[in-house]
Symmetry: C2
Subunit: 341 residues, 2 copies
């Protein structure tokens, strides 16, 4: 708690022998106050080290100058880069950011939304968790007039701003690349059937397989549990089964990279000789891995920047967001993990 | 901005036919109000979907229930893990966290401190930037009564809570390990002479060399610029110079890992055959790099947790922090990058 013995509007008014109202209006650059008075007030405010009180100004304007950023995880290169992009924009525009981490749990996401209804933030940027079963909590907060923009992981049925990448095309390009490298059995490792961005990546993936005359793709898409032990178990059992084992994998999210590389080491499966992999990832270390990892590199920083710009403009201009979608394209970075040896 | 047509204390008071003061006290669980009345008020509050107003309650209590977390970077496994540790504690205790990224720039750190004087946060957790030349901005904010705890990177001359790792010992262990592996010329690559944690790592490093009869260590410690191009240039020139080139490097911070691995590839220097490396790092991918990276693994998550607990206890109990230091030990994780081939 900041101590109470600091300069207030009253102190400044007393020093200058003018009313509190005049000081307050001068500090808000009101047209009702002369430039001479404004200058005197600003000089006194500086001299007395006046700092505006966050709560008093917030109570008046009902603006907090803060934006909530809700992410599934922060120890993930996509989300940490996206937050960096968000912060670059918000700090320029004078907004603070409150970070909330859901750990990809629906229950925690709902709890966070309850906390945000008290006016603590002026807007919300969110990448939804992968196991959400409904969107009522989001709709309720938006119903109170809260501006909200989805980045990367969006709830499809809610009309508002969305900043995403070209998931269908990226899924297509990833699968196509593995087919072109001679893979006969390409699989898609996902973590959720609910998440729309993963659904789109799967659709693109299936399209590429269809063009390669694989019509039945029911045994090409696997849901991998995110729980650490179950994740490793599932991957090992898939890679050990001669009927199921792929010779190419499109890894849909970065968090599956370590378990897949680790499982291959444990099972003595050589990447890329016996198994080619490509991952949706922003990992800075991709080129230093053994072997270097081919990635669909998402424009994480740019997605963050665009989402922040959209929410700031909605707040500043009191403009409600329609279904505005900004698509930032990803790119294929080919490295050894997917190449013909 | 949250719309105005929501339930206020006035609405609840009108519904129950009691005064606003009684409702307010009941909601604050005051001993002046009977349990029967409290229950009635809570029931009505639930029924009417009452949400407390952040600014009104903050103006009264002068508490924001928010903590500022100031870090040099967020795309760094140490800081992202530390933030995750902080968040785990703060969310349990009902605190929100505001994230500020300095990009390791002193000017930005000072700007951020100016923003925090308005009472927006109840406390500050900070890992200082590496090029700070004075601490006046920190002292000024603390002078206003703001509780502050340093984590990892601390300003030595400011008396308050500090949560750090055993930097001297870790520097010693790192150098000792390389000497034990047969290195004849071990160097320490740093990024700052000002940062106290790096000074301590250097002292430990020098101690290990001294015990190995290297008395003159003036040519064993190098400051590497953090600017991307200059960083690579400096590393390449050090590794190319036959008089300066080390056969063992203690890398003081994770951000130098990629340039050092990349420079070695470019110069055809084999790790560990020709150069052994060990890095202060929390990188999850350390064991998947080519070659796997030996690390001094810092307890980043635990440092975050401890720092958050300390600041929350200081805020809740209105307890000013003396020079309370919590040391969370690091550990040596030996992998191929430092082993005799």
């Amino acid at each position: 708690m900041i101590s109470e013995n600091h300069t207030t509007i009253k102190t400044i008014a007393a020093k200058l022998g003018i009313s509190k109202g005049t000081v307050s209006k001068a500090l808000q650059d009101s047209h009702e106050i002369s430039i001479a008075t404004k200058n005197k007030v600003l000089e006194a405010a500086n001299e007395l080290h006046y700092k505006p009180n966050h709560f008093a100004s917030g109570l008046k304007s009902r603006k907090s100058k803060a934006i909530a950023v809700i992410v599934p995880d922060i120890v993930d290169s996509f989300f940490s880069l996206a937050i960096k992009g968000i912060e670059t924009v918000t700090q320029k525009k004078g907004y603070h950011i409150n970070i909330y981490i859901t750990n990809d749990l629906f229950s925690k996401e709902k709890e966070i939304f309850k906390l945000l209804a008290d006016g603590r933030v002026d807007g919300v940027l969110i990448s939804v968790c992968h196991d959400a079963t409904c969107n009522d909590h989001i709709k309720e907060l938006m119903g109170l007039g809260m501006p909200l923009v989805f980045f990367d992981r969006a709830a499809e049925d809610i009309e508002t701003g969305k900043v995403v990448t070209d998931d269908f095309k990226s899924g297509y390009i990833a699968a196509r690349h593995l087919v072109d490298q001679g893979c006969k059995r390409v699989c898609f490792f996902s973590i959720s059937e609910n998440l729309s961005i993963l659904q789109k990546r799967v659709e693109g993936f299936k399209q590429a397989l269809l063009e390669n005359h694989v019509n039945d793709t029911r045994k090409n898409v696997y849901q991998i549990p995110t729980d650490k032990n179950k994740c490793m178990e599932t991957i090992i059992s898939l890679l050990s089964d001669p009927d199921l084992r792929p010779d190419g994998i499109v890894i849909s999210v970065e968090l599956l990279t370590i378990p897949i590389y680790t499982a291959c080491k444990a099972l003595n499966i050589n990447i890329p000789e016996e198994l080619k992999v490509i991952c949706f990832s922003n990992l800075q270390y991709a080129s230093l891995l053994s072997p270097p990892l081919t990635t669909i590199t998402q424009p994480a920083f740019e997605i963050g920047e665009q989402a922040a710009s959209l929410i700031c403009s909605s707040i500043t201009n009191n403009r409600s967001l329609k279904n505005e979608k900004i698509v930032c394209p990803s790119q294929l970075d080919i490295r050894s993990s997917s190449l013909v040896y």
